[in-house]
Symmetry: C2
Subunit: 145 residues, 2 copies
């Protein structure tokens, strides 16, 4: 069988590879939070609008345009797309108030807040270790050049 062997092997490898991915739940989580707009929206709705690490800001609901203004440079497409995805996963809730014109607010759910706590921990680690990482990177680049 000269024609199938390669393809079969590839398919098999793909299957195993997917299996390996599947057993790593942190992968699934990363798939959700590794999107840059997700992190920023989480920050915004979680109340981290400044660079502070006081950790005491309250989560609050924000309007679509409010988010758009805060996440400077986000296109309506990405903002909507990201918010929809987060809503789909039960991390944010969307509330429509039938004023004229219509008012829509987004807010972290309980689950969303627990995820936000995680990203806060990430931020914590980052603030402690990223300098080290960046320093090592710079050193490595200098040594290699």
């Amino acid at each position: 069988m000269p024609t199938t062997t390669k393809a079969v092997q590839t398919a098999r490898a793909k299957a195993e590879y997917n299996a390996f991915l599947a057993v790593c739940p942190s992968r699934q989580l990363l798939e959700r939070i590794s999107d840059k707009w997700v992190v920023l929206i989480l920050c915004a709705l979680g109340g981290e609008t400044s660079g502070e690490v006081d950790g005491s800001r309250a989560a609050r609901a924000m309007r679509y345009s409010e988010l758009a203004r805060l996440l400077t440079g986000v296109s309506p497409k990405m903002l909507t797309q990201t918010l929809r995805a987060l809503e789909r996963d039960g991390l944010v809730s969307r509330a429509v108030t039938p004023t004229v014109p219509v008012t829509v607010t987004y807010e972290l759910t309980e689950l969303g807040r627990s995820l936000h706590d995680l990203t806060r921990n990430l931020r914590q680690w980052a603030q402690v270790h990223m300098d080290e990482v960046l320093a090592h990177r710079a050193g490595h680049d200098a040594a290699t050049s």
Copy 2:
């Protein structure tokens, strides 16, 4: 000035946007760990070769080909590229033993292990909450269809 206005506005928006990104250190960290091969390599070198959560497996050095075999489906290009990036950031160390043929092993550094601890926490959260997320997602899809 009819021609510059738009571009200037865009550039300004980009700058502000980058500033907002910069104040969020967790973004930088995510930039590093959100790569799927990074997570898998961290898992592998951290000793999480199975889906177990016993948390007691020791980190160990692994050879290039060993990693390639474990991360089924990874291309040599991606494997090398990812390992180099991790080495550059001081998260893994690369050791060459001048045997014939040459033997190369990779190992988590102290910093790498601390990052691996983080991904373990992520895995923890994922195992607790991902079902909830996926259930909500399924429910949302069913309601929307």
